[in-house]
Amino acid sequence: MTPKQNKSKQDLDNTIREAFDTLAPHDKDALDASLLKSFRTWQQERHSGDPANRDGHKTPPRPYTFWLVRAIRSASFVCPSPSFRNMAAVATLFLAVIWLSQNDIRSLVATPEPQLSEIMDGVGYDPTYAPIEFMAPGLIAMPEDEMMCHDHGSSEIIAWDSTDSDMNPSFITAENHAAMCQAHNVDPQCPPTAPPQGVSLLGCQAPDSLSCYLFKTASDHFVTSALQARDKRTPDEKFHSALLEYISHPKNDPLGGHKAPRAFPSELFVLVTRDLQQAAPSRSTIRYMIARGGLLPTPQEGVGTKIRVISLEPLTIYSEPMKTIDGSGLMWGALANQALRLIASGASAGPDQMPNKASDVAFTKPSQRHTRVNAALRSEALLRHPKP
């Protein structure tokens, strides 16, 4: 008999338990904390003034395909004979197609399109004000040669992009800021809420990105957006690319040439709009990828990367107007502004700063062995963004 064959029931149970622990680790404290947090958010929503929220979530409108399937099924049930059922289904489908062709399909597919001002009210921003606030020169403490932006047209919003080479970069200067303000009928002298000192915004992708990540270190901040509405990659892949972008953008030396490696982020904000929560990577994934990327601190440093997942209202931002560059630029500006305000307010994600659920998970597990993986990840990043 081999040792494996000679296992007692107790030994076997121990091995099984260990296998389960490895396959499905259970963090009781984190789960309890998360359950309590859900409960408190639920309580807050119940006691909020919104009657739709009083007894739970708002129910999103059913897609038209749901009603079509319902109609076909009902038609099939009405018919007693199986041979007639298929005919009834086909007839319903035929009628539905005729009906759809006579109506405006868009009005059936989309929920009533919210006005941009309504959307901005939802996040607490004036639509004409938010992007200007975001791009105002001098307010964002960063070297001028890094302030790359692109203009999609006279009436559209400037958005930050340091990665998209197709865009024609231009620098934000006092002149084009004034021009932009004029294009938006905004007073160039309007005093926007100043971001805190030392905040720098590097890589961002504006068009139709509805959520972003914000890596915060002791000395700077890095905002990147990876959750794009039309991006078909999995949430994990999107976060991975955001992480790569973060790693591959070393802190710029104003003198040029030398690029210092990035410091470990002390905090990571994952700003997710509520209707994209399904598309957001799970906290475990983020945790795992940060560990893989070697971004978890070494025990000597003794600090952990705190991950905050922040959901933002409103529910309906992923609708037709937001698919335009203009709308998403605005939305992105609003999201980034939320992030900046969060930092300015001492990074406390209370209900005053963020209208919805904010979950904090602090990870303090030491990491010793990620140097190799980290090196691999960095080289992958360098391949994507080669040094000039």
Binding site: T2, P3, K4, Q5, K7, K9, L12, D13, T15, I16, R17, E18, A19, F20, D21, T22, L23, A24, P25, H26, D27, A30, L31, D32, S34, L35, L36, S38, F39, R40, W42, Q43, D55, G56, H57, T234, Q278, S282, R283, S284, T285, R287, Y288, A291, K365, S367, Q368, R369
Partner: protein, 208 residues
């Protein structure tokens, strides 16, 4: 006034939760966490099963006011767990993440490399066998081995008979043991082949 939460029936706890008692919610969640986690595992969601538990209880909380019979909370949460897990699985496509703890454990330097290697090998075989188990067997095995539930408790949680629980447990253990034995037999055959090859080489050398 102190309240004995763990011994309260489901209906009372549900009523307390609706009145805003967070400890009642915690007690209710703790009571059914093993069940929900076992459902997640039985659907093949391993590493992210805690995430599923979180989602299931969040959904349950938001729909709690729709629960018509509070005493039927168990069946209700079981239905939610099944739906949410299958949705989660569909969204995730593959549960390909390795837990960080597992990653750390695997990279720890070991004092006894041979023994540790054999333990790791065994763990790998058992893990693979667990993934191949039928749903109910996996669920019962998890509740018994990890949650340390007795046959009677498992039967009550899953609404099946005690005899069925013991039958499923027995069958699950048998399958895992079989996987272990067949792997060890393969090892023996392999080592036997190695010995034969060595002997052949020796004979060749002597003949030369």
């Amino acid at each position: 006034m102190s309240c004995d939460y763990p011994n309260q029936p489901d209906a009372n706890l549900v009523a307390m939760v609706l009145q805003g008692d967070e400890l009642a919610w915690l007690a209710l969640a703790r009571r059914y966490t093993p069940l929900v986690k076992s459902i997640a595992i039985s659907f093949g969601v391993f590493a992210l099963s805690d995430e599923v538990v979180d989602i299931v209880f969040d959904t349950a909380l938001r729909k709690l006011h729709q629960l018509k019979k509070p005493s039927g909370f168990k069946g209700w949460i079981r239905r939610i767990a099944k739906t949410r897990t299958s949705n989660f699985k569909r969204d995730q496509k593959l549960d390909r993440h390795v837990g960080l703890d597992a990653l750390m454990k695997a990279s720890e330097p070991s004092a006894c490399p041979e023994k540790c290697a054999s333990i790791k090998e065994e763990l790998a075989i058992v893990s693979a066998a667990l993934k191949d188990l039928p749903q109910v067997e996996l669920q019962v095995l998890y509740l018994s081995a990890v949650e340390q539930k007795k046959g009677k408790e498992i039967a009550a949680l899953l609404d099946i008979s005690e005899a069925k629980v013991s039958k499923k447990l027995k069958s699950a253990r048998k399958r895992i043991k079989k996987a272990l034995i067949s792997s060890s037999e393969r090892d023996w055959e392999f080592s036997g082949l190695n010995e034969a090859a060595k002997a052949l080489t020796l004979v060749e050398l002597v003949l030369k």
